[in-house]
């Protein structure tokens, strides 16, 4: 129980640290509003075009490549956890698996699918 109390105290302190500075700034700062300050800020350039646009399909290709490599790692997790108890063939199998993944990465890279156009 006392451990939970510790976590509670920790949470409260964290909240204070997070919330206090903006609140203080809001109380202490001088307020001189003008129309330019109210504009949408985007890297110093005025926004143009509608903001609700479709992404380029290429965005999805990156997402796809990431997704595949990311989830293949799920197969490596149990292997890594049990590494110390594994027989030799299991280690070699996983190395072959990783090599195939590396081949995939090299293929995607050499094809030029990783450069943003």
């Amino acid at each position: 129980m006392s451990q939970y109390a510790l976590i509670g105290v920790y949470l409260i302190i964290a909240l204070i640290f997070g919330v206090a500075p903006p609140l203080l700034a809001w109380f202490l700062s001088p307020k001189k509003p003008n129309p330019y300050k109210g504009e949408v800020y985007e890297s110093g350039i005025k926004t143009f075009g509608p903001t609700w646009i479709r992404f380029k399909p290429q965005y999805y290709l990156f997402a796809l490549a990431f997704l595949v490599f990311d989830v293949e790692a799920a197969l490596l997790l149990p292997w890594a956890v049990a590494y110390l108890w594994l027989p030799l063939y299991a280690v070699i199998e996983a190395v072959i698996f990783i090599l195939i993944l590396v081949f995939g990465l090299v293929y995607v890279w050499r094809r030029g699918w990783l450069t943003w156009m």
Binding site: P87, Y89, A90, I100, F103, Y107, R110, R111
Partner: protein, 483 residues
Amino acid sequence: MEQEIFQLSYLQAIVPELLLLVVGLLLLGVDLVLPEARKRELSVWAAAGFAIVALASPLAYLGEPQFVFGGMIGSEPLNAIFAFIFAMAAFLVALLSRDDERLEPSGVYYALIAFAVIGMDLMVAATDFIMLYLALELTGLSLYLLSAYDRRSRFSVEAGMKYFFYGSVASAVMLYGITFIAGLTGQTLYLGVRYLFASAVMPAWFGMGVLVLILAGVGFKVAMVPLHTWAPDVYEGAPTPVTAFLSVTSKAAGVMALMRLLVWIWGSLPSHAEMTSLIAALAIVTITLGNLFALRQKSFKRLLAYSSITQAGYVLVGVTALSPMGLTAVGFYLAIYAVTNIAAFTVLVLVSNRSGSDWLRDFVGLQQRSPALALALLVALLSLGGVPPFAGFVGKILLFAAALKSGFVWLVGAALANVLISLYYYLNAVRMAYTRAEEPVEPLSIPVASRWVLVIATAGIILGTILAYPLYHLLERAAMVWF
């Protein structure tokens, strides 16, 4: 039931699959470094690779039937035979793809074929539900991409899309069924589940319920009614060589996986008579439906699509027999069907290279343009229609005899009636090819690669009859292992 998970000698049982993996990766690698102008050479590389795999496939049988890799797959003569059939089909299709002018095959294309063949080999060899699911998915994912390969064609991309959604849902339903088997029996090995079913630990209704779920995944591959709706669309939209490949191989792999499930597991249920009548009913509906739709097609590609649904139905007639004789007949018919269908599709590719479409009327005057091509079409379609003396006739006799022996007289009667109906549209296409065109025609030359495909496939159709006895004997000995 305890089985070693790994021994070095087990690797021999998956030699075809390992070789295919190497072939696939090599093709991808060569594709990266090869200059654009020499891309056409890839088809020769790929064909050579598949030929090597076909030659090496007998190695997959370790000399006596046994389980390898913890019971995940079996090493049996039948698996080696099917590894050979699939590699040969890939070999022929790789050559054929070279001559399709509407297709620009790259390394990815051939690599996907190689990966699909790995999946199909494992589907036939799987003796564990996990392996069955993985093999099914590997086959499926490769084939979805292959059917959408021609990315500039709306038809091709749409076909890939449909195939993907139908196929993924079917395999998800199957997996749902597998979770129930695995969950309630604690087993995923076929033999373990069989034991629990046979000893009536699991009630019969549970077995039948799960069977229906699992039929969804496997029946989809076979394009069995009511899971056939994807087939005509995908077959029509996909590039023609891909259609030839998937209508032959993924169907065969699906039938073999289904047959193994039925013989090994559900055949041991105390009340498996209901199950065989279910399959028999599905078989006859599949045959009839495919026939009725094929009758009214104007596109030759679509006609072949419906005809291949019908052909799968004939194979299911053999599956219902659930006997060594049935299994032998199924294996024989699938092998013959593979070469026959590839021959028919090769003719289609060559004709539509000139005409730019798949219409049946493009075949008018084929005999004047190229007598050899017309003859190849004649042989292939007569064999599909079951006309003696071609191999399709022998195959159908074997299938129907096996079903008769197991007591399905009505089924064989209905199937025979359908064979007569199907003759109408097969002969109609042949008649087109032998009709004289009214306007003058230009001769049609057959490119070298396709010439080889036609020679090998036609030789297969004729040798299937001449060598029927030794072939049957070989398959029969292989089939006995299951019983």
